[in-house]
């Protein structure tokens, strides 16, 4: 394994009894980047995170995080990582401040440092007013923010976020995304698991799509989208009986046959630049009126459907991975 990746795993294997959770998973995240681990419930995402954070021994394979061997140097590795999970693992009978202070002490930070960092983090996460209140009075979004803050107390170079926004309302979700982006801008490496495509699309530099314990695709969001075909023009016609004329006018632009679908004409194009202007001009010359015209890129939803044959957020029967 090369030494410069912050997270590197080769051939991770793990089974629980007869259930094969991971069947040889490779993952790589260069320092300072976000690796998105995208997959449905039960795909093996949490198992991978638990192995990389020393919580679970792998049955096979090897992994290094921050240059430290996950299996043989687990105690050393624990000072270099932060973990925030889908459960908001904070103590309800402590205040927000006490939670962060406790975690800082358990990281063995120098005297005074846990309290100082707790104050700072509460401020950063807009929890400073709630910092003195018991966590059991917090909303779901506040608990998640506190959970993420707890993972950041030691300013670890590598952060593991296991479905950090599952169950959050859109506003809290956006706020959490912005916080994560802020940490990445400061050089933190993040492994993020998610079953939300928009989340992976927004945050991840590289995405590994995982299903049934196997990485079935890997690449940047754009690369993955290219795998399922490029972009297309979507044209909404003023009058649906113009469709023949529209197809004739746009065929010279198309990289594959244009096809009408639900009143919208989809025209696959190979060259994005100038395509919209060109199409508008051609349709005008042909005398075809249009209501709307736009470029559409395939979404990660399309990617997931194409790769796995099922949608990303569909629940599997063996959904529980813990």
């Amino acid at each position: 394994m090369s030494g410069d990746a912050a997270i590197e795993a080769r051939g991770l294997v793990k089974s629980y009894g007869k259930v094969q959770a991971l069947c040889g998973v490779d993952l790589t995240a260069p320092a300072g980047t976000v690796l998105g681990l995208l997959g449905p419930n039960g795909a093996g995402k949490t198992t991978a995170v638990r192995i990389l954070t020393t919580l679970l021994p792998a049955d096979g394979g090897e992994a290094r995080v921050a240059g430290i061997d996950v299996m043989s140097e687990a105690p050393k590795l624990r000072t270099e990582i932060g973990l925030a999970g889908q459960y908001a693992a904070v103590d309800e009978n402590l205040t927000g401040f006490e939670n962060l202070d406790m975690v800082g002490r358990l990281y063995h930070l120098p005297k005074g440092e846990p309290a100082r960092r707790a104050e700072k983090l509460l401020e950063d996460f807009e929890l400073d007013e709630a910092g003195g209140r018991l966590v059991r009075t917090y909303s779901g979004g506040m608990r998640r923010r506190l959970d993420l803050a707890a993972a950041l107390v030691a300013e670890p170079p590598v952060l593991f976020l296991d479905e950090p926004t599952t169950g959050l309302d859109p506003r809290s979700r956006l706020a959490l995304w912005e916080t994560i982006e802020g940490r990445v801008a400061e050089g933190t490496t993040v492994l993020l698991t998610t079953q939300y495509l928009d989340e992976a699309d927004r945050l991840a530099d590289r995405i590994s799509v995982i299903d049934h314990g196997v990485v079935i695709a890997e690449g940047s969001s754009d690369e993955l989208k290219d795998q399922v075909g490029g972009e297309s023009l979507e044209v909404t016609l003023e009058r649906s009986d113009d469709v023949g004329g529209a197809i004739a006018a746009l065929t010279p632009l198309a990289s594959a046959e244009p096809r009408p679908e639900d009143g919208i004409l989809r025209v696959p194009v190979s060259v994005r630049k100038g395509a919209v202007a060109d199409a508008v001009r051609r349709l005008e010359q042909a005398g075809v009126g249009i209501d709307d015209i736009s470029m559409r890129r395939p979404t990660l939803d399309d990617v997931f459907l194409e790769l796995t044959g099922h949608a990303a957020e569909e629940d599997e029967e063996d959904g529980e991975e813990r």
Partner: protein, 257 residues
């Protein structure tokens, strides 16, 4: 050596966390003091009249027994708390930190000593009001109190283990009741074992709970001590050690070394 220092400081950090819970979840403490008080009053006034205890009034006979039973259940919060921490993912967080592997459990059991002290104070207070009286010297009473706390500490480790092996806080609760309840009743805590059928009597006489109860009776109301004081200390220390090792092993098991 720094490993040991961290084990101590981590344990104290977590003990503080669990101390803070006490005033913040007063319903739990209320349950913990009201339930044994209810037992005191039930046994003293409902069953007591029908239980002959040669040489002692029933109240004098009862208070040491019920104190030991209360200590046996004192670690209940530990089982509940650990099962809850597991369920909520807090144990995962602690396991991912560079902290001592024994501190989560040791911090819990240490905090239990505080709740056990509160329980002893409440029960002895009520006992004295309804007619209990010490008939021994102050050093003997103090030794008795220390043995009660050591015994309670040992049972906290049993509960720590139960919390780790239970699938949920509710399961931890019923597991605790199923195991500990018969143990405390088939003992010398509430009735003289001589009144039981032979096989139960045999069990009751070898039951470590009886040995501890007899030691406390010796130290509080002047029963002949025999070897019971040493026996109580040895049993308590042995149980604490055995279950501490077992529980810490269980806690670490799912973790890489």
């Amino acid at each position: 050596m720094s490993g040991f220092r961290y084990a101590v400081s981590d344990t104290l950090v977590l003990a503080k966390r669990n101390f803070l819970r006490i005033p913040r979840a007063p319903d739990l403490l209320l349950a913990f003091t009201v339930q044994p008080l209810m037992f005191v009053l039930l046994f003293a006034y409902v069953f007591g009249g029908a239980i002959p205890t040669p040489g002692h009034t029933y109240i004098d006979f009862l208070i040491p027994g019920i104190l030991v039973q209360t200590m046996a259940f004192g670690g209940f919060v530990t089982a509940l708390g650990i099962a809850e921490d597991l369920k909520k993912g807090l144990i995962d967080r602690f396991r991912s930190l560079p902290m001592s592997r024994s501190a989560v459990l040791a911090g819990r059991t240490l905090a239990d000593i505080a709740t056990n002290i509160i329980q002893i104070v409440v029960m002895l207070g009520v006992g004295l009001i309804i007619g209990f009286g010490f008939s021994t010297s102050l050093p003997e009473i103090v030794l008795g109190l220390l043995i009660l706390l050591l015994f309670g500490y040992a049972f906290s480790w049993i509960f720590a283990f139960m919390g780790l092996v239970s699938s949920s806080p509710e399961a931890a609760q019923s597991l605790g009741f199923i195991v500990i309840f018969p143990l405390t009743f088939v003992s010398s805590a509430f009735v003289p074992p001589e009144t039981m059928p032979a096989s139960l009597q045999w069990f009751a006489e070898w039951n470590p709970i009886s040995i501890v109860v007899n030691a406390i009776r010796a130290l509080f109301i002047g029963d002949p001590a025999g070897n019971t004081v040493w026996g109580a200390i040895a049993w308590s220390a042995g149980i604490a050690l055995f279950f501490a090792v077992l529980a810490v092993y269980k806690y670490k098991r799912a973790v890489v070394r």
